[in-house]
Symmetry: C2
Subunit: 427 residues, 2 copies
């Protein structure tokens, strides 16, 4: 008997899901004995449903899906944390299994969603919420569970990776790269979620929760975006043998979980350094498996729909076998989250200063006063008529000391004409 | 109640499995509610069992494991296709679920193993048979099944990848690289399985069978190794913008499956080109997900044990839930296998010829007579006092034509002093 699917949200990813069912339904039956039938499609208008040939399944009220006893699985592809949350929670309470691609929901209300699923005896899968079509949540929940995961490091936002690639490889300014990303449809008109790092923060919260078996919410993630990065920084990084990436980082340490998103210099020889353009990659280190990396398209209708429908087929298989939730919440530990103040690493800091005598002495003294030892100082081409860029690279230093030094420097007239660019260095 | 494990084979991977259970058993219970207990260990001697602290579980007769009604899962880590096959088949017939890392067995007798499992209503998992610890079989059987897989391309043999990396980056000869690999423990005293491509052939047979839902056995794989590759070839490739890798390739085409292992030139910009040393990577293209790649350690005790124990925990989870085989054989289609003669691609061919007038004219005529159009011809440094290396790069040509041309050239005295080096080019 067919497993009946209700789809809520018919944007690009929803359209991709409809296309997959239309194209491969017969193959799923033949290969896996799984028959998935699209039973209803909900959206604000029926335009997309009609465009994908399923206008006859359209409804504009998601309750018609949630309350339909014949529907087994609800796919939520609205996004956001308001109506989408209602759809997911009500669907679970109504006895549906749920598949969602909603990273914001899972990263902010993951606990509530998982608790609701457990109370209902149903399963919620969210493989498409991180990394688009890249299988990463599946392997973390299955193939890799024999390991204690030590770290997860990802390029998980394609928009910013595209922009940084264009700036590094083609000398584009930040504004030019953003405008091109918007023109290509990779960036929104309001790009904040991408360029300020929030999208990546939601994703690393989800990955860290699974990898470390401990709840990490989006608010726990120290988050900085790429808005202060210039081609000067990318050129300097290249000369030093590094690439600059917006990394989402989660480390297990003896004193808790270190989880953060910020521009990061990584050696050019690292596997993540060659992940360019809109591609995503997630680098996972486990105590037995060692280093692994998962690479692919982090966005786009087809990739995300592949992940959504992978989850749908997995659920359908379990429903056909009469099996309840196979893997529910695995956040059984409560590991402390370390604040970034307590971390020590190396830093690249670029100041734009007024070009007058004595600035270097003043800045160097402030670093010394704050226990920040300097590895190198380089003056880079004048950024305009009167200002110059001064690039400091520190030895390993405490984050709170570095922040105090920057604050003190920026309190001095002329030393901080624009907001400094801070890039942390991971070896 | 604990799920009881019987381990047959206590080499490096078996030792890794014991270590994982010793180290993480409590965590598996806490995180996943899965309790796995090592109940018996079989090997020729008890030295390894004792070394890993489980001497009290030792037996030298695998029948004691297969016939023990209290054992739920048998891990087969003997390798090879003789005793290992007996262990796997008898364990399944005795009602055990089986986990094996045995690529040779699965690639030559996969059908018989899967049929036996199905008849017994049991599951056999073999995630460690390809790519060491890299989760690749899991994603192909789960996360990616919404796709029609178009191709699987892998660097799946760490030994040869290590050798090629040392030859390309450090100018080592083939013999030097092999000697170093043997000294480091990456290559066997008899390296044939690695350097002749058989290990990679077994792995791509397994991957192709799963990816295309159609049985591909090791004998179906056209297989050539790296024994004719010299630093001359690697230097020439680099100058042309390529890297040389021993690739295991499986393409779905309109007229069947194209599956083969051979040295291959790939553009330096391709993700696979930067996979160096003993690392493995598998590049998968699906019709919706697009390009994905899975990277990691392809061998070693920890990595392989991670994959074996991932399978064990997956089975234990199903046994605890009282669920039968979730994914059995998925080879439901019978796609024809294309012979390599029918394929067309570009070729790099290096001949070592006696250095006398007229050889180029003769060789060029033979290529023309066989419908092979030449893109470039380069003479490279004398390989010894009297011979020179002549490198041809063809336009797209039919494999059978290229082979006929090589055979005709080698039939002429002086034109083929050593076996030519043939490297196929994938763009």
């Amino acid at each position: 008997m067919a497993i009946r699917i209700g789809l809520v949200g018919t944007g690009t990813v929803g359209g991709g899901c409809i296309d997959i069912i239309n194209k491969h339904r017969d193959a799923f039956v033949r290969h896996y004995g799984i028959d998935v039938e699209l039973a209803a499609v909900c959206s604000l208008s029926d335009a997309e449903a009609k465009a994908h040939g399923v206008g006859h399944l359209f409804t504009d009220d998601f309750h018609n899906i949630i309350n339909d006893p014949a529907i087994d699985i609800v796919i939520e592809l609205i996004g956001g944390t308001t109506i989408a949350k209602t759809v997911v929670l009500e669907a679970l309470r109504a006895g549906k299994n749920v598949v969602t691609a909603n990273k914001a929901l899972m990263a902010t209300s993951g606990q509530e969603v998982m608790d609701t699923a457990e109370a209902a005896g149903k399963t919620v899968l969210f493989g498409a919420s991180v990394g688009g079509g890249i299988p990463i949540i599946g392997p973390l929940k299955h193939s890799l569970i024999a390991n204690q995961i030590e770290s997860v490091t990802g390029i998980v936002n394609g928009t910013t990776n595209y922009m940084l690639t264009r700036m590094a490889d083609n000398g584009m300014s930040y504004d030019e790269a953003l405008a091109e990303a918007q023109a290509q449809g990779f960036a929104e008109a309001n790009p904040s979620a991408d360029v300020d790092g929030f999208d990546a923060a939601a994703k690393i919260a989800i990955l860290a929760s699974i990898a470390f078996n401990s709840r990490v919410a989006m608010d726990d993630v120290y988050t900085r975006g790429i808005t202060n990065i210039t081609t000067t920084d990318l050129d300097a990084a290249r000369e030093m043998g590094y690439a600059v990436k917006l990394l989402a980082i989660a480390h297990r340490t003896d004193s808790g979980i270190d989880v953060r998103v910020h521009p990061t210099m990584i050696p050019q020889s690292h596997q993540l350094a060659t992940v360019n353009g809109v591609f995503n990659a997630i680098y996972v280190v486990g105590d037995f498996v060692g280093e692994t990396m998962f690479f692919g398209e982090g966005a786009g209708a087809g990739a995300a729909a592949s992940a959504v429908m992978g989850d749908v087929l997995e659920l359908a298989r379990l429903i056909q076998q009469g099996v309840g939730p196979v893997v529910g919440c695995t956040c059984t530990d409560e590991l402390p989250i370390r604040t970034i103040d307590t971390l020590s690493m190396k830093y690249y800091i670029r100041f734009t200063v007024a070009d007058r005598p004595g600035v270097l002495a003043t800045m160097s003294q402030i670093f010394a006063d704050n226990n920040v030892s300097i590895h190198s100082m380089t003056q880079r081409g004048k950024s305009d008529r009167s200002n110059v860029d001064i690039v400091y690279v520190t030895h390993t230093a405490l984050e709170s000391d570095v922040q105090a030094a920057i604050e003190a420097i920026c309190a001095v007239p002329d030393l901080c004409e624009v907001e400094p660019s801070l890039i942390r260095v991971e070896e």
